[in-house]
């Protein structure tokens, strides 16, 4: 049996593809955003209090190790959702993002040189202001690096949800598989790949834009 390569299919199904893409972005990106927001205070707490760090870092490691199909399957058990519920994919993605970013945030904050902190104190910054104006900006490159990894992984992980019926571009992959429509599969794979890499590049760019001092430093050391 030959594989079908109906290239005209692509032109005829643009709205279906667009809808699946939109759904995919909703499933993948929203949890990453939520994860980022949650990781900042958690990472700060872990950087400040060794006891917290002792609990959070291993916990993050454990959660990150659990395969996505397992977590996606267990969410209905833990949260009482129906089997086909976007939350089943979004909650694990948020968990993975937090697990990844808490480490990044913690490491980044811990690595702020002591003399920089001392200088900030000397100038008169109170702890909150010091965090927002000094520590956080210095932590951005590492956080952005982690965010890039989290986002790209999320785009790819979301497709696993299609195995139990949760849509996005993954459902184009399974549909193409069932109907011997290789074009549909290739289009979905390519879209996931391209969008993930574009977002990755965007994050890299934004990260560099908002931290001009890193560029200056790289320029100097060259």
């Amino acid at each position: 049996m030959n594989v079908d390569w109906p290239w005209p299919w692509l032109g005829r199904n643009l709205d279906k593809i667009a809808e699946a893409t939109g759904e995919h972005l909703f499933l993948a990106l929203l949890p990453v955003l939520v994860g980022l927001v949650v990781s900042l205070p958690l990472g700060w707490a872990a950087s400040r209090w060794p006891a917290v760090r002792l609990v959070l870092v291993p916990l993050a490691g454990v959660l990150y190790t659990i395969p996505s199909l397992a977590l996606i399957t267990l969410v209905p058990l833990i949260m009482g959702t129906k089997i086909i519920d976007p939350l089943n994919v979004q909650v694990p993605l948020a968990i993975y993002t937090i697990a990844l970013l808490v480490r990044s945030v913690t490491d980044a904050l811990l690595a702020v040189p002591g003399d920089v902190l001392a200088a900030a104190n000397a100038v008169g910054f109170r702890p909150t202001k010091r965090f927002v104006a000094v520590e956080l900006p210095l932590a951005i490159p590492v956080i952005v690096a982690g965010l890039r990894v989290a986002t790209v992984s999320a785009m790819s992980l979301t497709s696993v949800g299609a195995l139990i019926g949760i849509g996005g571009l993954g459902s184009l992959i399974t549909e193409g598989f069932k109907r011997n429509n290789a074009v549909e599969m290739v289009v979905a794979i390519a879209l996931i790949l391209v969008i993930a890499l574009v977002i990755d590049a965007l994050l890299l760019f934004v990260g560099r834009m908002i931290t001009p001092w890193t560029r200056a430093r790289q320029g100097a050391s060259k």
Binding site: L69, D107, L138, A145, V149
Partner: protein, 245 residues
Amino acid sequence: MNSALSWLFDGDHWSGPTGIPARILEHLGYTALTVLIAAVIAVPLGAIIGHTGRGTFLVAGLSNGLRALPELGLLTLLVLLTYVGLLPVVISLVVLALPPILAGTYAGIRNVDPSVVDAARGMGMRESSILTQVELPNALPLILGGLRAATLQVIATATIAAYVSLGGLGRFVIDGNNAGAGSPNGYPQMAAGAIVIAVLALVVEGVLEIVQRVAVSPGLRNVATRKRTARIWRKPTPDLVGKST
């Protein structure tokens, strides 16, 4: 939760070719085969790139690009193009396992203390000997780290193999999904399968952590932890290989 646990501990489900132990073995089998093949390709490749400094774009590009590739897509497309069997599954899993091993080997070689390499050159050692007798042993911690990351990655992704009618632990999730939530072999089977998958992943991670500690010679043990302290200006460590499944 009760029904999941009762499915899990039902004696019937622990015997025979479709039982939990059999599926665990299948799963570990796919993983071992994949990591072996990937290591045979990626360790030499990463070592050469790390030693000569040429072709570094390959390491960064592959790591980034392949992390974005949806495994489900690669796997099903390959099966559709070839046949339903082990080969397409192993090929797509190997593709997934290459980046962490490549990145780990590359980083390991690059991170070898330059003065050590210098001394070796000064002694008159040939380049290839420097690579095999000096750099690789010193790179061992990071290489093992890469192998570890790859193994976990493959264990997670091998769960998908069940969708293209192979065995492994994903079988419980896929079959349970088709049986329908209400049936006794439906969601309880899915949840039981998910629990076994999670536990297996954690156990393997733990075992590999111990293996890594034991296998690295004492002189190098501190090196691994020292180099991992994140400095703000440095690129992310190989730890951040990201999840693909």
